[in-house]
């Protein structure tokens, strides 16, 4: 992770960390290899055109990179309508394709948690008791050299 002033700001004061009062959609991104996870809470409101994210927060069991990614992406997500949310997730995942697995894994976990929360919201329009959706990441956060050493 490149440690610049903006990243340090997010480390010192992660934005949107915690719960959202009146959250009506939650989603989880999970790393099955090490148990790290991100839980996203969203309060989705309806306006005349389409539902939008009135408030969003996250909690994580993970490293500093996950916290920085959570802080940045939830800031981006706040105020977007659901199409905007799906576009944000898609653009993030596309961007992560260019990074090594171990650098991409934490941000992927956050992006998938946001997608899971949006999907949970959609499902709950038909079934209000629909459980929290969880997506597992495809990237591996263990650096390749370390992985080979562990074999």
């Amino acid at each position: 992770m490149t440690v610049d002033t903006q990243v340090i700001e997010h480390m010192m004061n992660p934005k949107n960390y915690g719960n959202v009062a009146g959250s009506n959609a939650e989603g989880m991104g999970k790393n099955p290899q090490n148990g790290e996870k991100v839980l996203v809470y969203m309060r989705v409101m309806n306006n005349e055109e389409q539902p939008y994210v009135d408030d969003i927060s996250f909690q994580a069991i993970g490293c500093t990179t996950t916290i920085v990614a959570g802080s940045m992406l939830t800031e981006e997500a706040k105020g977007l309508n659901l199409n905007g949310i799906y576009n944000l997730v898609e653009a993030t995942l596309k961007l992560l394709e260019k990074l090594p697995d171990e650098d991409a894994a934490c941000s992927e976990m956050v992006a998938l948690a946001i997608k899971a929360a949006a999907d949970t919201y959609m499902k709950r329009q038909e079934d209000p008791d629909y459980p929290v959706i969880t997506y597992q990441i495809a990237n591996n956060c263990t650096p390749k050299v370390e992985e080979e050493k562990n074999l």
Binding site: V3, M12, N13, P14, L39, I61
Partner: protein, 278 residues
């Protein structure tokens, strides 16, 4: 009682941060007060367990970014006054009076403290008197963020385990691990303040401390301690050229992990013995 627990938790951390940002004799007093508030927290928790009231370690984020010590002291005084008013919610009146008496004394001392300029949030990322390479500075920055949170997380986990156990052997181990993590947390906060990157650790998710399988937690904990040893070794090597003082400090932390691992192994052996005895 939940509000009292949350407010005490927040006051404890805010006081700890204030102590970490002080450069004068205020420092030790503030850190001592933070220890007292943590003990209040454990007493209130104990009472809640006794009355069967459900609780978690949830709390609000605590804004601590100030440029004068006076500013945070005023915030703490407001928080303590608010807490004092909430104490009527405690069923144990003797406990309530004891906490209230401590709070009144602390407020009086805080009012009399001299102001200081605070540089703990300046983001200079320079250790006084030590010149580190950019790579070592970045590695140390990430280490301090990771580890201040990790030590806070461990305090909360071992405190929760201790609060819910009446086994003297295990509680001795949990208490030592809490004490060790307190020492590390204070040292890392001190270093973060010197680097200008002091931050309140984030809230710990409840599934981390409401542990269902303690033996698995201990096994994972040993692996984490081994990984922490490696990290300390890497950091020690990264700073060795520029600072023998920091090199020695990270070697010291590295060797302390052996002690934690030994304690966790003792706890695991104890669980295994208990299981074999049925």
């Amino acid at each position: 009682m939940t509000t009292v627990l949350i407010k005490t938790h927040e006051a404890w951390l805010e006081m700890l941060m204030a102590g970490s940002m002080s450069h004068t004799q205020n420092r030790q007093t503030l850190l001592d007060f933070s220890d007292i508030l943590f003990r209040h927290f454990t007493w209130i928790e104990h009472e809640m367990i006794g009355t069967g009231e459900a609780y978690t370690y949830e709390r609000d984020n605590i804004p601590v970014k100030v440029d004068r010590l006076d500013s945070i002291l005023k915030n703490i005084i407001l928080r303590l006054n608010e807490l004092d008013l909430q104490l009527f919610g405690l069923k144990d009146k003797a406990l309530s009076e004891r906490i209230s008496s401590d709070i009144h004394y602390m407020i009086e001392v805080l009012h009399g403290m001299n102001d200081e300029v605070v540089t703990a949030f300046a983001m200079e990322r320079k250790f006084p008197g030590i010149s580190l390479t950019q790579e070592a500075t970045d590695a140390l920055t990430i280490f301090l963020f990771e580890e201040t949170y990790k030590e806070y997380e461990l305090i909360m986990i071992y405190n929760y385990l201790k609060a819910h156990s009446d086994d003297a052997f295990l509680n001795r181990i949990f208490q030592i691990l809490v004490d060790e993590s307190f020492f590390h947390l204070k040292r890392f906060c001190d270093m973060a303040a010197k680097m200008g990157i002091l931050a309140v650790p984030r809230v710990v998710m409840k599934e981390l401390y409401q542990i269902e399988d303690v033996t698995q937690f201990l096994k994972d904990g040993i692996d984490e301690e081994l990984a922490a040893k490696e990290e300390c070794k890497r950091l020690s090597e990264a700073v060795a050229k520029d600072s023998p003082e920091l090199e020695k400090f990270f070697d010291f932390i590295n060797h302390q992990e052996n002690y934690h691992i030994a304690l966790m192994k003792d706890a695991l052996a104890y669980f295994a013995k208990k299981d074999s005895n049925g």
